[in-house]
């Protein structure tokens, strides 16, 4: 474990850029902290924090210069690994011979090398869950595989618990335990600094070039306490014991009607959720009728024609669509992937326009089972 002076974080970012990585990290934009391309520590949300609750998100100024003094915003890393819109293949038809040629979209392995800066533990778990979906099933998603193979991860152990966070309930944080090259803990007491932990060959190689010194036992202890405090101030709690079985037995629970009265089926929750992966496919032809492209786009189980039969929706009522989302996320995801689909990041609670709280809904079903 090493110590890096707080003012020297930029040297880490520049070291990555020198190695040909483009940086994606948190930055303030349009009143929220989003993950966009950044070019140095100056782009980070220095001195900002977020206030989150059901249907509520505000940025507030801190009285210090913390670089990672906030929880997570509306975006997650799925935007980079599983982009909202991509072309998957192009088909060309020879107008004269009728012969068809199919060209799968090439994924240029060498082109894009991204370093993700400031990845929280919940999001590391979310990436691992997407890995299970796209790499661990019957078929591998080659586009995801290529993007996934090229990333360098700088994780951050949270120093602040968000108002809607419940990673402790989901056993997904706040401490990052895997999936990163370098993990940072921001310590603001005393002389502000970062505790730096390199977990891979690549991570060690980069850290070796930085101006760091060995951390003392006290400093390591102080770092642990930062994370401890975060763990103790979670905004929400979810009882996960027996949840899949409970949900499977509760498909006719009256709570679904109750939440349906509030749910707008807007799908915000699925957009901000770091593990929601569902997509739709659109085929578009050019005017000449000789070239057609297939585009894959994010979709949501809240759209009416998401699941359908002969053009008629199967889940027509808002009740059935909300039920599908929650029972999949907390229940049938276990049957499909052997674990929960939820990482406790709280984004769905914060970004729901009417403040529907997944932990509250699960609790209501449990209470009345």
């Amino acid at each position: 474990m090493d110590v890096l002076d707080h003012r020297n974080l930029d040297s880490l970012l520049q070291a990555l850029r020198e190695r040909g990585y483009r940086l994606a990290g948190p930055t303030v934009k349009e009143g929220a902290i989003v993950y966009e391309e950044i070019f140095g520590a100056a782009d980070l949300p220095t001195g900002w924090t977020d206030e989150q609750d059901g249907g509520h998100y505000r940025l507030l100024r801190r009285d210090d210069e913390a670089l990672f003094g906030y929880a997570v915003g509306p975006q997650s890393w799925k935007r980079n690994l599983h982009p909202p819109v991509i072309r998957t293949l192009t088909t060309r038809r020879n107008g004269k011979t009728g012969e068809i040629q199919v060209v799968t979209e090439p994924v240029d392995e060498s082109a894009e090398r991204w370093a993700f800066i400031g990845v929280r533990s919940c999001d590391l778990h979310a990436i691992a869950k997407l890995d299970r979906v796209f790499l661990g099933g019957r078929f591998v998603n080659p586009a995801y595989e290529a993007r996934r193979g090229n990333i360098f991860v700088v994780a951050v152990n949270c120093g602040v618990a968000g108002g809607t966070c419940f990673c402790v309930s989901m056993d997904t944080g706040p401490r990052a335990t895997f999936g990163y090259d370098i993990a940072l803990t921001e310590v603001l007491d005393g002389e502000p600094h970062f505790l730096v932990e390199a977990a891979t060959e690549g991570g060690r190689e980069v850290v070796a070039t930085l101006e760091t010194r060995q951390a003392s036992a006290d400093e390591i202890e102080a770092g642990e306490q930062v994370v401890e405090r975060t763990a103790e101030s979670m905004g929400r709690r979810l009882e996960t014991e027996g949840l899949p079985g409970l949900l499977a037995a509760s498909r006719e629970h009256p709570r679904w009607d109750e939440v349906a009265d509030r749910c707008l089926t807007c799908g915000n929750c699925t957009m901000v959720c770091p593990t929601c992966f569902c997509t739709t496919v659109e085929d578009v032809t050019d005017l000449g009728g000789e070239e057609a492209e297939r585009w894959q786009k994010w979709d949501s189980c809240f759209t009416l024609d998401f699941t359908n039969l002969h053009g008629g929706g199967v889940r027509v009522s808002p009740r059935s669509r909300y039920r599908q989302w929650l029972t999949h996320k907390l229940g049938t995801w276990h049957d499909q992937f052997g674990e929960s689909g939820c990482v406790g990041c709280g984004r769905c609670i914060t970004w729901c326009p009417v403040g529907i709280d997944i932990t509250e809904e699960a609790e209501a079903i449990r209470a009345d089972a």
Binding site: G98, V281, Q296, D299, T307
Partner: protein, 261 residues
């Protein structure tokens, strides 16, 4: 596309020639068929698994994509992905009676079962087809069924509504079950058709004494990827594109009665 046969007013059977040596598949599997510029849909393979040099699909034209597929001309190409999905466990019926119950176009994914079973006719004591459609002109493969009858398949047909020429049974396909005089202890049954038909039929078969584990159904949902990645074909915990379309009845019995699952 080599040959196009009109089965009914809105259903065609297409025979495609695979570009490579052959398209291997097992009964119950489907492909994603793409008509240039018109989209992709899952279509069950309805041909003979022992003849992979011809890839056969029976398609009902109900929307823009299927209409485009059904209007493909000789010599035109269609793009095929697959095969996907689980298979009818034909071997499970060996040594006993194989009973196939089909409704409407549900006979299409079951026809490969009949071919496969006939190829090993001696492995089954009885092969029985119970088949119902809405009206006589909507029965599929009628000429071929007569031929299959002579090769050792007992065939019972019925329609929901008769026309002037129909001299056969009238009534839903479940009314054929008692007439077939099945021996529940020896029977393995495969059922395919509209979901309501499969629920009624499965219930009648179980009531007739057939153990639920010996009953298999083929479910359907729209699909975009058939790879388990787009999420659309979920049915409770199952992905119909990969865990199905063929399921053993106990796995889905309780799910079939949940509205809007």
């Amino acid at each position: 596309m080599l040959r196009r046969l009109r089965e009914t007013a809105d259903t065609w059977t297409l025979e495609l020639e695979p570009p490579r040596q052959g398209f291997e598949f097992a009964p119950g599997q489907f492909t994603m068929l793409y008509a240039f510029g018109a989209g992709e849909v899952p279509i069950s393979i309805s041909g003979d698994p022992a003849r992979p040099e011809r890839l056969v699909h029976t398609v009902r034209a109900v929307g823009p994509t299927t209409r485009a597929i059904c209007s493909a001309r000789r010599g035109e190409s269609l793009v095929v992905r697959g095969p996907f999905g689980s298979t009818w466990p034909v071997e499970a019926a060996e040594g006993g009676d194989l009973v196939v119950v089909a409704g409407g176009i549900g006979l299409a994914p079951l026809r490969p079962v009949l071919y496969a079973a006939l190829a090993r006719r001696e492995a089954f004591t009885r092969i029985v087809l119970l088949y119902g459609a809405r009206m006589p002109d909507q029965l599929l493969y009628t000429a071929e069924l007569e031929r299959l009858r002579t090769q050792g398949i007992e065939i019972f047909l019925t329609v929901d509504q008769a026309d002037e020429q129909w001299r056969g049974a009238v009534g839903v396909v479940t009314t054929l079950i008692p007439r077939a005089r099945l021996d529940p202890g020896r029977t393995v049954a495969f059922v395919c058709g509209p979901e309501i038909m499969m629920r009624f039929t499965s219930s009648s078969l179980v009531q007739a004494g057939i153990a639920p584990e010996r009953l298999h159904v083929s479910l359907e949902r729209n699909m975009k990827c058939a790879l388990g990645h787009c999420g659309r074909c979920q049915f409770g915990p199952h992905y119909i594109c990969g865990d199905g379309a063929v399921f053993d009845y106990p796995a889905v019995e309780h799910l079939l009665t949940v509205p809007e699952l």
